[in-house]
């Protein structure tokens, strides 16, 4: 995984139309974006479009990326998620939950060699952190994150008061953060 300065440098090169940077970014993040697309959009063609759209949008905003405000992988996935939510809204379909998160679908392939050492480990730790969530917290967060639902919509779908939906998502996010920090302490 690149240091923050390296991430900024990579995005600056991408902004400058460096084809090497675009290849590096693609190899590093396309599997992540494609995986997110499969979870959120549910089909391969839409996920491929998501990958393409994400890399175009990343280039258009590449100069504005600031590693001081967050990691590049989180930024890439935020952009991808935003585009996926737009696609979901266009479809006007029901939100998709990530019931399969712990059991990758048959479409799931192997991560790239670099990802195996870093992203794969990070993802595994993140999934262990998610196991610390209650079923209710996880369900609410999945609807909000993958389904692009507002807390009001989550409340309606779950049949719970709005305040409860907000509290569940709020608490789930804080618990994830804490659980991840604990895994870092255990596995430096």
């Amino acid at each position: 995984m690149l240091e923050p300065a390296g991430e900024t440098q990579l995005m600056r090169a991408y902004a400058g139309r460096d084809s090497g940077a675009s290849r590096t970014l693609y190899e590093r993040y396309a599997p992540r974006v494609y995986g997110l697309g499969l979870v959120m959009l549910g089909d391969r063609a839409a996920s491929e479009d998501l990958v393409q759209d994400t890399f175009v949008k990343l280039w258009r905003g590449a100069e504005r990326f600031d590693s001081a405000r967050g990691r590049l992988d989180a930024y890439v996935l935020m952009v991808a998620r935003s585009l996926a939510i737009d696609a979901l809204r266009r479809r006007v379909t029901e939100s998709r939950s990530i019931r399969r998160l712990g059991t990758p679908s048959e479409a799931d392939g192997s991560p790239g060699p670099e990802d195996l050492a870093t992203t794969g480990d990070l993802a595994a730790r993140a999934r262990r952190a998610m196991a610390r969530l209650s079923a209710e917290q996880r369900s609410a967060l999945e609807l909000a994150y993958f389904g692009g639902r507002t807390t009001a919509e989550v409340a309606e779908l779950e049949g719970i008061p709005l305040g409860t939906a907000k509290t569940r998502i709020h608490a789930a996010l804080l618990r994830l953060r804490e659980a991840m920090a604990e895994t870092e302490e255990v596995e430096p």
Binding site: P31, R60, E63, M78, L101, G109, R127, T150, H170, R177
Partner: protein, 237 residues
């Protein structure tokens, strides 16, 4: 908006699901509240954990060439490397038309005296901003300095999509030369419009940029010799 009201909205804010108008209020509060920013940072870390939990999946091999070819095409079509351009494309012309409308709304807001008119204008403003998907409009009145007869207005639109706009409208009856207009802000931020050519004492200029215009607080108008002839303080509409 109070801290309690902001924190109630942070889950939607951090998941980018807050309606644009509400989000504007949340952002304003966050800029001046360290405690809420700390809360937001904690929630954001949680979102990052959640996002990386998705298993990576190798996309089809042919997608790589498709994406890289698309990028090459995008780069060829891009007019300037800086992302700042004059309005030429049809959609930019449409954007310009929108800006004229917004300028009218903003000007109307500034001139309104009756409470009901202000209320109607504010509602119109909010609807417009929400429809466009922007963060906010910021405006300033151009005033001549050192006795120069220059009047006009400047309008900035902050987009969440990296396509922010700026427009300047000037009336300078005593000037027949080329003018320059530059937006500046703290930390040395500087963004020039392309040269403004006066005709019958009037001129206007536009720019579209992916730069963050949120900190811009001053427009400076200079004549062909570089002398400052007018300025405008820019603030939220």
């Amino acid at each position: 908006m109070t801290c309690a009201e902001v924190r109630e909205r942070l889950p939607d804010h951090v998941l980018a699901m807050t309606p644009e108008i509400e989000d504007l209020e949340v952002r304003r509060h966050l800029r001046g509240c360290a405690a809420c920013r700390a809360e937001l940072a904690a929630l954001r870390e949680g979102v990052e954990v959640f996002s990386v939990a998705v298993p990576p999946t190798e996309p089809p091999a042919e997608l790589r060439d498709r994406v890289l070819d698309t990028l090459e095409e995008e780069w060829r079509d891009a007019r300037t490397p800086s992302g700042t351009s004059r309005l030429r494309a049809p959609w930019l012309v449409a954007a310009a038309a929108s800006l004229v409308l917004v300028a009218s709304v903003a000007w109307g807001l500034g001139q309104a005296r009756r409470a009901d008119r202000v209320q109607a204008g504010a509602a119109s403003y909010e609807r417009l901003l929400s429809t466009l998907g922007g963060t906010e409009f910021r405006v300033g009145a151009v005033r001549g300095v050192d006795g120069h007869d220059v009047r006009g207005s400047v309008l900035l639109y902050e987009s969440v999509w990296g396509r922010s706009w700026g427009a300047v409208f000037l009336r300078a009856p005593q000037t027949a030369d080329e003018l320059s207009a530059t937006l500046t802000g703290p930390g040395g931020f500087s963004l020039p419009f392309e040269a403004l050519w006066t005709k019958d004492g009037e001129t206007d200029g536009w720019l579209v940029t992916d730069a963050d215009l949120g900190s811009v607080d001053l427009l400076t108008i200079r004549d062909a010799s570089g002398r400052t002839i007018a300025t405008a303080r820019i603030s939220s509409a």
